[in-house]
Amino acid sequence: MANKIRVATTSLAGCFGCHMSFLDIDERMLQLVEVVEFDRSPLTDIEHCTHCDIGLIEGGVCNSENVHVLREFRNNCKILVAVGACAINGGLPAMRNHIPLEECLNEAYLDGIGVENPQIPSDIELPLLLDQVRPIHEVVKIDYFLPGCPPSADVFWKFLTDLIEGREPSLPYELVHYD
């Protein structure tokens, strides 16, 4: 048990679609947990990372909490992986980058149709939004990138088994072409 490879996962500004795709490895999950133990992850409900071998990050960085979580992962994971389009490029959440943050907040909380009791939320418990949604490699150093929206279950499987078996991960063309 002590020798199992420790894996942590999280979703920042993402939709959990990458996590769902990961679960699509289906029964292969049983093979995986033979050699892998999950640390912080929505799958385990563990709230903070301890030392891990692999960290899988879904989603981009849209607020200050994302920055803290990402840094916690970087500090604890030997290998940190950007998983999916949002982590790699900002993805859908980054569509707001073309609109100034002030306009976004005004529309959502002050001027939008159906807004009652208009006010900008302000509480020290609430994370503040960054003016732009950022890919995670612009905030911490990232070791590997798994492309796709989401990356298919086979991509997760190939990548993780390569790493676990001590090979340099490589994704064959069939797994990363999308048309």
Binding site: I120, L128, D131, Q132, E138
Partner: protein
């Protein structure tokens, strides 16, 4: 407005003239109004989206109103070396308008523009498309006063617009001004086939930089089984640091037109185009007059020299797009479209303008061809090197006593050139513009020739007080701005190169960042659709190879730092939520708690 547009379209009723039509509308209204787009769409029978895509593609067209005086300042590295940044700030103050903005009274707008081809007499700019040179505090004072008094450009003092040739060294071509019609008469005497043989014998290769054999290009075009053929002169001289075509068209235009006419006689073309970059608007009327004069003298039009040749030349102005110097993008632009390079093959000699066989050559190539027609192939071929015959006209700028035009036999060393133009204490030279390569002081024995340093003619000198990274930074931004946006490796890649370069130059880089930069360079270089993307990484690659320590010295000894101000990125949210507690801030670098 309706009448104005109706009037323009009556003279230019084809969709191929869209660029020329939009230029007139932009010039009159200082933007392209929505009504104009609707009207043009109907008159030219093209979709409005196509018109909008053309407007958005070219830097000199705008969908929102610019100032009645539209002031653009050249952003070439040579302008920066002459103090552009300080002058731009001075202008902002004097005119009370920020860069990129229109003043609230609508009188003036100010912005940057890519190199305007005045590198030997910068800092330079454009006002409503007309070239301004030698900008300094006193000329800016004058300009600001004229604008504030709203004086028409025609009443501005001529010295503001004075453009000098600055020819410092003439050779084979520049020494000899041909008499008007001499080349055509020579063709008539010698015969068309025989003239092509002479051009072949001369070894003349294209002067734009790529160096394709001219005679072979003309031969290929003439062999195509098509009724119509075209001759295009590429005067879209956009490579920063190049300005020889400006001088050739100012002083040797007759000979350039003559070279085009010789080409037309050889390939059997009836129509030619001079694609003149928009920045050279000041040459337009002069060139039109020369064409008119040639028509009157029987050297253009129908039955030229009573030899039964029919050929005429039309001048088409560009609208601020570097990519249109690429021949297939230029042809797209001539057809009234956005200048997006075509797939090649088919090359223009088989399918060019309107799908017909087309010869596209540089201004200097046509000039040389006219001289060769008169003097014969041997006259040209006895000068130069084995694979690079004749001479090359260079545009020299940067840190030297005498910037300007120099003509050298091919094979001349960098050292000789530096000596002639009075350059001391030289750190290195950018040969061939941003898409060329940087030559360090260890390589001054290298030769300008297709065998060694191929160049379109740009030669920018940097002395030891300059910082190479400033140059690389400027060039990298240039490519990101000029990418046509068609292919992802270039559109996204050049922006990423710019971002990564900024990160390192601004001191936020760490060890992995230079590796990432190099990988990105290879990707952009190897996967881009056309020459722009394939060369956009050259400034980084050629300097990284020669000065790796310079890049390393900018790096921090930490594993990683974001390239943007993390805490600053929270500023808007902080202000709107009215917060300033510790949780409302982020440290730029977080100390690893576990080590």
């Amino acid at each position: 407005m309706r009448q104005f547009i109706q009037g323009i379209v009556e003279n230019n009723h084809q969709a191929t003239h869209l660029l020329q039509i939009l230029r007139q509308i932009q010039s009159r209204f200082h933007y392209i109004p929505e009504e104009a787009i609707e009207q043009l769409s109907g008159l030219l029978n093209i979709p409005r989206t196509q018109i909008i895509s053309v407007i958005e593609f070219y830097s000199f067209f705008h969908l929102t109103r610019r100032g009645r005086y539209e002031l653009l300042i050249s952003d070439s590295i040579t302008d920066h070396m002459l103090g552009k940044k300080d002058l731009l700030g001075y202008l902002e103050n004097k005119l009370a308008v920020a860069v990129g903005e229109v003043r609230s009274d609508g009188v003036v707008s100010l912005d940057n523009t890519s190199c305007t081809g005045m590198c030997d007499q910068g800092p330079a700019g454009l006002v409503n498309g007309y070239a301004l040179t030698h900008l300094d505090h006193s000329s800016i004072d004058k300009i600001a006063a004229l604008i504030n008094q709203q004086k028409p450009l025609s009443e501005w003092p001529g010295e503001l617009f004075q453009v000098d040739d600055n020819i410092h060294k003439s050779g084979l071509l520049l020494n000899q001004q041909l008499e008007q019609g001499a080349a055509l008469k020579a063709v008539l005497m010698r015969g068309i086939k025989e003239t092509l043989t002479e051009i072949d014998k001369s070894g003349l290769r294209g002067r734009g930089g790529a160096g394709f054999k001219t005679a072979m290009k003309w031969q290929f075009c003439s062999e195509e089984q098509q009724a119509e053929r075209y001759v295009v002169c590429n005067a879209d001289e956009g490579e920063p640091g190049t300005f020889k075509d400006r001088v050739l068209l100012n002083t040797y235009a007759d000979q350039v037109f003559e070279g085009m006419t010789v080409c037309a006689a050889i390939i059997g073309a009836k129509q030619g185009f001079l694609y003149l970059r928009g920045e050279y608007l000041h040459l337009h009327d002069k060139l039109q007059n020369i064409l008119e004069q040639r028509r009157r003298n029987g050297l253009l039009g129908t039955n030229i020299l009573d030899a039964g040749w029919n050929f005429d030349i039309e001048i088409c102005l560009g609208a601020g797009a570097y990519i249109c110097g690429e021949e297939s993008a230029l042809i797209e632009s001539l057809e009234g479209k956005a200048g997006i390079p075509r797939n090649r093959p088919p090359y223009p000699v088989t399918q060019g303008y309107l799908g017909k066989p087309t010869v596209v050559n540089n201004v200097e190539t046509f000039l040389a061809a006219a001289s060769i027609a008169v003097n014969g192939g041997d006259w040209f071929a006895h000068i130069g090197t084995e694979k690079s015959k004749g001479t090359k006209i260079l545009s020299i700028s940067g840190d030297c006593a005498r910037p300007g035009i120099y003509e050298y036999p091919f094979g001349v060393t960098v050292q000789t050139i530096l000596h002639d133009c009075g350059a001391d204490d030289v750190l290195g030279v950018q040969v061939g513009g941003p898409s060329g390569s940087f030559i360090s002081d260890q390589e001054f024995e290298r030769k300008l020739a297709f065998e060694d340093l191929a160049t379109g003619g740009s030669f920018i000198i940097f002395n030891t007080r300059r910082n190479i990274l400033d140059m690389v930074h400027n060039f990298t931004h240039f490519f990101a701005h000029e990418s046509c946006g068609f292919c992802t490796p270039c559109r996204v890649g050049t922006s990423l190169l710019q971002k990564q370069m900024d990160k390192i130059v601004e001191g936020h880089g760490s060890a992995g960042d230079v590796v990432a930069l190099e990988e990105l360079c290879q990707l952009v270089k190897n996967y881009s659709h056309c020459g722009l993307g394939q060369t956009a990484a050259n400034p980084i690659l050629t300097t990284l190879e020669r000065y790796p320590d310079l890049y390393q010295s900018r790096l921090k000894e930490i594993s990683y730092e974001p390239g943007f101000d993390l805490d600053g990125a929270l500023e808007t949210a902080r202000r709107m939520a009215n917060r300033d507690d510790a949780g409302a801030h982020l440290a730029q670098i977080e100390v690893n708690e576990h080590e």
